[in-house]
């Protein structure tokens, strides 16, 4: 498919939670494969029906071929990320020996709390990305990003995660606080601040948990360096020319500040921002908005009011982003696209937009 849009080798779909990133990533994948390019779509939390459509329901972390029929020359694979499994897999792969691996996997802190570490899903997403990027089995990767509070969280997460793993707290807990048999060292050795800090941590998190953490990080020690290196490599990949960000936004004036903030932030941090897409815009209804009627229960009047509101938001965003930035919109469809046919229709709409660049 020839479009005005220049497809990169890595397309990262970003935006706040709930705006439709996963569906759009799937539609983009379809479009890419139809253009003859072997494509992998990496998704998070697709809806059940979308999972079925992509065939990724059964096993997380494994790529599955999406059946597109003979007319399509490119191949489309899809995968679903499972943070826990990826983490276990990394430990398994990089632990120096089976005993070290078992110490980590069996650690209470790891089992109960490591899964809820901040940024773990994001970190695992980029780990997995790097893995498939290096495997080089696809000409193009489309990366959906995990739902975060703020769209930007995704970019910072790997670094936060690594800095947590490496943080002084850990060094303190492994080296200074605990002697080798896991007993607490005399607090005197820590100096006044250390003493305060230790008694604070002790109060707040308790010794048992600290000991579990100490053990975990000690066992994890040999893996730090690798984690740090890969986080750095993925950061480089994300700012490289190979990578373009595709920013998705919700409709309506209220979403404008967030979208604008994210667009600016991406550029400031040296990432390449491609198109901005406002999703689920209430379509022009062929009616004038009538708030009174809408309040009384006239759904058509309500939709007309929403269409005007969304159109105002879009115009506002266009002004703020400037004429250079490609800005598209997709309408709220009567039904959420969740099988290949309806995804294909969405992809068609998308293709029309992208061609118009």
């Amino acid at each position: 498919m020839t479009t005005g849009f220049e497809w990169p080798r890595l397309l990262v779909v970003v935006g706040a939670g709930g705006v439709g990133k996963t569906t759009l990533a799937a539609a983009l994948g379809l479009l890419s494969a139809r253009g003859g390019t072997d494509t992998l779509v990496m998704t998070f939390d697709p809806s059940h029906r979308l999972k079925d459509a992509l065939g990724v329901g059964a096993e997380a972390g494994v790529e599955t071929r999406v059946e597109l029929g003979d007319a399509v020359t490119g191949r489309l694979d899809a995968s679903l990320l499972d943070a826990r499994r990826t983490f276990d897999g990394l430990v398994d792969r990089y632990a120096p020996d089976p005993a070290a691996r078992d110490r980590i996997l069996g650690n209470r802190f790891y089992r109960h709390l490591a899964g809820s570490l901040a940024g773990i899903l994001e970190y695992m997403a980029v780990e997995r990305l790097l893995e498939v990027w290096r495997a080089g089995e696809h000409e193009r990767i489309i990366l959906d990003t995990p739902p975060t509070r703020q769209a930007l969280d995704f970019l910072g997460a790997p670094r936060r995660m690594v800095s947590f793993l490496e943080s002084g707290a850990i060094k303190v807990s492994t080296r200074r606080w605990f002697v080798d048999d896991g007993r607490l060292r005399g607090a005197r050795a820590l100096g006044p601040l250390g003493r305060r800090f230790e008694s604070f941590l002790d109060d707040v998190v308790g010794l048992e948990l600290l000991r579990d953490m100490g053990e975990f990080f000690q066992a994890f020690g040999p893996l730090y360096e690798g984690f740090r290196q890969r986080a750095r490599q993925v950061e480089q990949l994300l700012v490289s020319r190979d990578t373009v960000f595709f920013l998705v936004s919700g409709a309506g004036e209220e979403n404008v500040p967030d979208t604008l903030f994210f667009a600016r932030k991406l550029e400031e941090t040296g990432h390449h921002l491609g198109p901005v897409l406002v999703n689920r815009l209430h379509p022009r209804a062929g009616l004038a908005a009538d708030r009174e009627a809408a309040v009384r229960g006239d759904g058509a009047a309500l939709l007309a009011w929403l269409a005007e509101r969304d159109a105002r938001g879009l115009e506002h965003l266009r002004t703020l982003l400037g004429p250079e930035r490609p800005l598209y919109d997709l309408p709220l469809l009567p039904e959420a696209p969740s099988e290949i046919q309806s995804l294909a229709r969405l992809a068609e709409l998308l293709a029309e937009r992208l061609r118009g660049v």
Binding site: A16, T148, Q150, S167, L193, V205, G286, A289, W305
Partner: protein
């Protein structure tokens, strides 16, 4: 927490509700100390929390809506200036506070380490920063701990309250928030935080004192998540939500198809059919109370909350 109570700007007297219906779920909720309003981001959690706070205050309860979100929204809905961490009086018996989860944990440090200089050094150290950033379960437990202290009048400088309505953070799963206290209290053997999280875990386990309100939209993903939340809540905390709010429904009864109808009429019918299907899915799997609230032609603001409160009161009757 900060001791300041900002005065509301206008003191319009608000009418008292004529009394709550005998069997309404509001009557049931009015007797609890903590309402946790949870759901996927964007479904209207904050709007529902503001609506519940408004209704409870009008029914004579002293209510505080606690928003834990870096983006402040609820103040707009209640027509007051941003809280910025302070407790703001929004109407008679109705208060609002916005907090960053991090502030809650920081406060804990200040309470524990009473020497200001040392507390400041700890708060500024990267060691502490990484530790708190790295373990969101601590923040989640601290948020609920703060609710407990507020509801029981143990938070310095806060007004006396009957009920706290927590507009739960949009990240993570509602269940992870609700099970954080028991997780933390199981991990910590002794000390003030262990005590506090133990108390909070008890509060969450006590269906006489706390309630869970799940907000959703009639769309596939949010409905599926709401159902999962229900299942997990039963499995992990052995309780079921007191109220399900299906928000942002299009009006019922779209006209039958006819030649020359507007695109809007057609979209209305198709979207509403989809919503009916999702509401049906919920109804089949969700015993218990449910409110269906309309999608309204108002931007975020007091008009929206007024209209939602009227709709909710109507549903509850």
């Amino acid at each position: 927490m900060p001791a300041v109570v900002k005065q509301r700007i206008s003191r319009r007297p608000r009418p008292l509700a004529t009394g709550l219906g005998e069997k309404g779920v509001l009557t049931q909720l009015a007797g609890r100390r903590l309402l946790v309003v949870t759901g996927k981001g964007g479904v209207g959690k904050s709007a529902v929390a503001a609506t519940l706070g408004t209704l409870l205050a009008r029914a004579g309860r002293r209510a505080l809506v606690l928003e834990v979100d870096p983006r402040e929204n609820v103040h707009q809905m209640l027509d007051v200036p941003p809280s910025g961490g302070d407790i703001v009086e929004a109407a008679e018996r109705l208060f609002l506070q916005n907090l960053q989860p991090r502030q809650v944990v920081d406060q804990l440090v200040r309470d524990r380490v009473r020497i200001e200089l040392i507390a400041r050094r700890i708060l500024a150290s990267p060691l502490y920063h990484n530790f708190v950033e790295g373990a969101p379960v601590l923040e989640e437990a601290a948020i609920l701990g703060h609710c407990l202290l507020l509801a029981e009048g143990r938070s310095r400088g806060a007004p006396p309250l009957d009920v706290v309505v927590l507009d739960a953070p949009a990240t993570g799963h509602g269940v992870s928030l609700l099970s954080a206290p028991s997780l933390v209290s199981a991990a910590i053997a002794a000390g003030p935080l262990a005590e506090l999280t133990g108390e909070v875990a008890e509060l969450i386990g006590d269906t006489e004192r706390s309630a869970v309100v799940v907000v959703t939209q009639a769309e596939e993903m949010p409905v599926t998540e709401a159902l999962e939340l229900r299942t997990e809540l039963a499995a992990r905390l052995d309780r079921s939500p007191e109220l399900l709010v299906v928000n942002q429904l299009l009006p019922g009864g779209p006209p039958r198809p006819r030649a020359g109808e507007s695109a809007a009429a057609k979209l209305w019918r198709r979207r509403r059919r989809l919503q009916d299907h999702e509401v049906g899915r919920l109804a089949a799997a969700w015993p218990g109370r449910r409110w269906e609230l309309p999608l309204l032609p108002f931007d975020r603001g007091p008009e929206l909350i007024e209209a939602l409160a009227a709709a909710a009161a109507g549903q509850d009757a």
